[in-house]
């Protein structure tokens, strides 16, 4: 008897369950418009991937151009009020605002990108972009002729400092003479400032431009000046094909799909996710075969494999800070705690982190 009931109920669930279950609503808060490149674009690509994976079991909406101030609370609450079950806030500076709304809506799940505070219904997620920086550094060490790298940095936060260090450690390993020139532009998105910074760095002798900002302006400036560049967040090859070596791409889709699925299944739980190349959250754009020798491309690909299987770590000791103190002993790798709070340059980088 019980088996019959079980069978019948299973049958009913399969036959009607999917038709009767309301689709879960997933909302996104974007700092900019999705556009065709950069940070928000990649989150939107992730959103669409999630839609394609989960089909009718979810619907998605987004609010774009939400400033990182008091307005963000209203926007996040608007999503919460309009029946969203899962809300992704895709910029660091939505942190306090996300928590402010989340505490009033305990049944709604929130996911805050690049944040460091969790709650029962607020998870955080970010990507190990520094793994890509290591590969960029390795390529730059081989490709530079002036031994000068121009690095356009956004804000002196651990993520950016970590990227600079990972890049330098790899670059100086293949080319000990390498020098880094770093310009802090204090913006994530400003084509004018980014292009100015790129031109300044090129005038100072940099023949490779690295950016931790969002637009393709630095890459185009590099192309104009006839030097190389790495793109950021999305594949920038189409904007500067003669300068672009590769880009670090942020691939959020699989994570978004997994988290949305967990909400659909009722298995979502809070936590902190920090994935890298092994999970496909950080991906290198196709290496430029016109500009890079095949052997170097092979080395970069091998490096990717090593990072994925854990045999290579960008922060493997011995690592010294600028004062010459050993911060990561030989044979060890930097613990996540050190990486998350990183606010110092490694030995060999000139200047200091703006304080």
């Amino acid at each position: 008897m019980i088996r019959i009931i079980t069978f019948l109920s299973t049958f009913l669930v399969f036959a009607f369950g999917s038709a009767y279950a309301d689709p879960k609503k997933v909302g996104f808060i974007y700092i900019g418009p999705p556009g065709d490149h950069g940070w928000t674009y990649m989150h939107d690509v992730g959103r669409k991937y999630m839609e394609s994976q989960l089909g009718d079991s979810i619907t998605t909406t987004y609010l774009e151009n939400i400033p990182e101030n008091a307005d963000a609370v209203r926007a996040i609450r608007k999503l919460a009020d309009s029946g969203h079950d899962l809300i992704f806030t895709t910029s660091f500076n939505y942190m306090d605002q996300t928590h402010e709304v989340a505490k009033d809506f305990p049944d709604i799940k929130f996911e805050h990108a690049t944040g460091y505070i969790q709650a029962d219904n607020v998870a955080t997620y970010s990507a190990r972009f520094y793994e890509g920086r290591m590969i960029e550094g390795h390529i730059a060490g081989h490709m530079t002729e002036t031994n000068t790298i121009g690095y356009i940095a956004s804000f002196p936060i651990p993520e950016v400092v970590r990227g600079i260090n990972a890049f330098y450690l790899a670059a100086s390993k293949v080319n000990p003479d390498i020098k880094m020139k770093i310009i802090w532009v204090f913006t994530w998105y400003d084509p004018g400032k980014e292009a100015d910074a790129a031109n300044t760095l090129i005038n100072q002798g940099a023949d490779i431009i690295v950016q931790h900002t969002d637009t393709y302006a630095p890459c185009q400036a590099a192309q104009k000046a006839g030097v190389y560049a790495f793109g950021q967040a999305s594949n920038q090859e189409e904007f500067c094909p003669d300068a672009h070596l590769t880009s670090i791409e942020d691939i959020w889709g699989p994570y978004y799909a997994e988290r949305a699925k967990a909400v659909v299944d009722g298995t979502w739980s809070s936590g902190d996710t920090w994935d890298g190349m092994d999970k496909g959250m950080v991906v290198m754009s196709p290496y430029n075969t016109k500009l890079m020798p095949a052997s170097l491309i092979q080395e970069a690909v091998n490096m990717e494999v090593g990072i994925k299987d854990g045999t290579i770590h960008p922060f493997t000791g011995p690592i010294y800070n600028q004062a010459g103190e050993l911060v990561v002993p030989e044979g060890e790798v930097a613990p996540d705690g050190m990486l998350l709070g990183m606010n110092f340059y490694v030995q060999g980088i000139d200047g200091e982190v703006p304080q």
Partner: protein, 357 residues
Amino acid sequence: MNSLFPSIVSRSQSSGLMNFFVPIISIVLTLITGSIIFVLLGFDPVYALYTFFISPISSTYGISELFVKATPLALIAIGLSYCFKNNIYNIGAEGQLTMGAIFGGGIGLLFHDTNAFWLLPLMIFAGAIGGALWGLIPAILKTKFNTNEILTSLMLVYVALFILDYLVVGPWKDPFGYSFPKSRPFSESGRMPLLFDGLRVHFGLIITLFLIFISWFIFSKTIFGFQLKVSGYSPKAARYAGFNQTTLVFFAFAICGAFAGIAGLAEVSGPIGLLYRDISPNYGFTAIIVAFLGRLHPIGIIFASLVIALTYLGAEDAQLFLQIPSAVGFIFQGLVLFYLLGAELLINYKLTYKKLL
């Protein structure tokens, strides 16, 4: 027989009736144009306008948010009207707002672990001082060196923003904030009290209404208000009457700066609670539209601030329910300003049909 096309004739006296109707005409024209845009985009215009203008304020929370958004706009706009009435084009309210947030917020950070009744009043006072001092710079430059206040006040906006940048990246950075560019939070007594539980509308609204009332009194009942108006209409007449233009410029800038400074402080000690880089979504610039839409009149400014605030809220509902890009909100603001400037013609000119025969 009359000519088909009207000709524009100057009025002997500006029309008080039109003064009242121009904002209404421009809003009606904006709604009509907006409907046409919605139709062209393939939306039912009635549903679209409902989504844009009614749905955001169909809940208590929505109405509270409308006031949260309108409060800084109205406060800055009423301050700007001291300048604009006197034909002083202070367009640097955004900088004065930022300086108010820095001064007032600085006090808040200094006493971040103090809980005392005097903290918030001190912060408000400091905010007013900060804004006023920042406003006085273009006033001095204008009166001493005859510089153009449009340029100087605008440039000082960016200076103020860079100072705030420097502070939150450097000395005022939260020591427990992983180097992110933001300050530590203010203490509980450094925050604007909320007027209702669970809603974000805060004490800044009361301050704003109070200052609007005071301004109404100054504009209509005091010699200072009269002087502002006269020297705005006719600087020569004002000089003959012995009004000191320099003093007026100083007062106008100081008051405007102080109001913008209080607005900035109210924003950081109200809904935000700490200092970071993007404290204002361009309130200082949007308030210029509010001031003109409200015809520089206290009551007009209150309504204008609500209308403009609504365009922000509406843009979010339009995205959510119609999937229209957020730029639609700016289109509405642009349309209002465009029609307002156009319809302004009707105040000092009238349309007449010439007799041909």
